[in-house]
């Protein structure tokens, strides 16, 4: 009986835990439209005080890198330690960078 076309679309949910921090991806849910997705995100992902703001985006709007490109894209960074700023002496004042 289940008709795949009648399934609600999937949405990705991003929650900001407190003012000043960034929105972090925390999961996904199904909802009929954007308004419902925001309400559902609030109910599903912030019920234990996890957040003060939510973003939702329809999952099919996210463009992702191809897993097949993983070697080509990401492995070359492995031996480029000089790209980490570990060769600099930081002043004490910025110790927590």
């Amino acid at each position: 009986m289940s008709d795949i076309n009648k399934e609600w679309p999937l949405w990705e949910v991003f929650v900001r835990s407190k003012a000043g921090l960034d929105h972090k991806h925390c999961g996904s849910l199904h909802a009929a439209d954007a308004k419902m997705a925001i309400q559902m995100a609030r109910d599903v992902y912030t019920r234990r005080q996890e957040g003060c703001s939510v973003w939702v985006v329809q999952s099919d709007q996210i463009v992702a890198s191809d897993p097949g490109d993983k070697d080509m894209y990401f492995d070359p960074a492995e031996d480029k330690v000089y790209r980490h700023p570990t060769f600099y002496q930081l002043p004490k004042a910025v110790d927590h960078m």
């Binding site: 199904h30 009929a32 308004k35 309400q39 109910d43 019920r47």
Partner: protein, 259 residues
């Protein structure tokens, strides 16, 4: 050994508070019946959240009612150890779960009413404790109204079947609205003593807000019914005994049981 019922010292103030607290308590119990049964997982969690908010409101108001009553009855004794006639929730809260259309319409009717009541209590109750409870509860009630009202619009303005189910829910629930706004000696005396508004004062804003939701849903607001339910005076529907049996069994069979 089973737990005996407590005897209430009923004054207009305690009855005013119990009408609010019991309506939250019994409605929460009904909504919690959706846990594991809502149409989709996300809505299941949303309904459970609403039920838990209402339980929190009931706990706070019943605790205050016990203090005002002055016979050292705590929230648990008030919630679990009264006879049916000593519960003063509005009948709307105790009606059976029904289908999803019934649930979202009842939640919208109740949330709109409670929101208006909490707003007034937060501003004008002479009781500092009740003002504080109301100030917190009104935020929850606003969300309950928005979430449930959106469903009324979606279903009323949805498919043929969803509209028919919303119309059926309206036909069955609307007559229980009159009880939310009628007045009696207890209501008058509590209002005169500064506990909160006369419930009759909430009728016009309630009808205006419901009218707005129903119009958006493409549904016709039913005419006012002459039927008068009486739950808030302790005279309940035939469904009340069963819900109390569910709620009370554990505390009656194992007095003071905790986990």
């Amino acid at each position: 050994m089973t737990a005996a019922s407590i005897q209430l010292e009923l004054t207009p103030a305690t009855q005013y508070l119990l009408r609010i607290g019991d309506s939250c308590l019994i409605l929460a119990q009904r909504i919690s019946e959706w846990c594991g049964h809502a149409p989709v997982l996300e809505e299941d969690i949303a309904m459970s959240n609403i039920a838990l908010d209402l339980i929190g409101q009931a706990r706070a108001v019943l605790t205050r009612a016990g203090e005002v009553e002055g016979r050292s009855h705590d929230e648990d004794q008030l919630a679990f150890l009264r006879q049916e006639r000593d519960y003063f929730n509005v009948t709307l809260a105790e009606l059976p779960r029904g289908d999803f259309a019934n649930a979202v319409l009842r939640n919208t009717m109740a949330a709109t009413w409670l929101k208006l009541l909490w707003e007034r209590l937060a501003m004008e109750s002479k009781d500092e404790e009740l003002r504080a409870i109301a100030a917190k509860a009104v935020k929850e009630a606003r969300y309950h109204q928005q979430h449930s009202g959106d469903w009324v619009v979606r279903l009323g303005d949805g498919t043929d079947e969803s509209r028919q189910r919303m119309e059926a829910a309206l036909a069955s629930l609307w007559r229980f609205a009159a009880e939310l706004f009628d007045t009696d000696a207890a209501d008058e005396a509590a209002a005169d003593a500064g506990w909160g508004p006369r419930w009759s004062e909430l009728k016009a804003p309630w009808q205006a807000e419901m009218q707005q939701i129903l119009s958006e849903a493409g549904l016709t607001m039913p005419a006012e019914s002459k039927f008068q339910s009486d739950g808030k005076r302790g005279r309940h529907s035939e469904h009340m005994g069963f819900i109390l049996a569910d709620m009370q069994y554990l505390q009656r069979a194992f007095p003071g049981g905790v986990w």
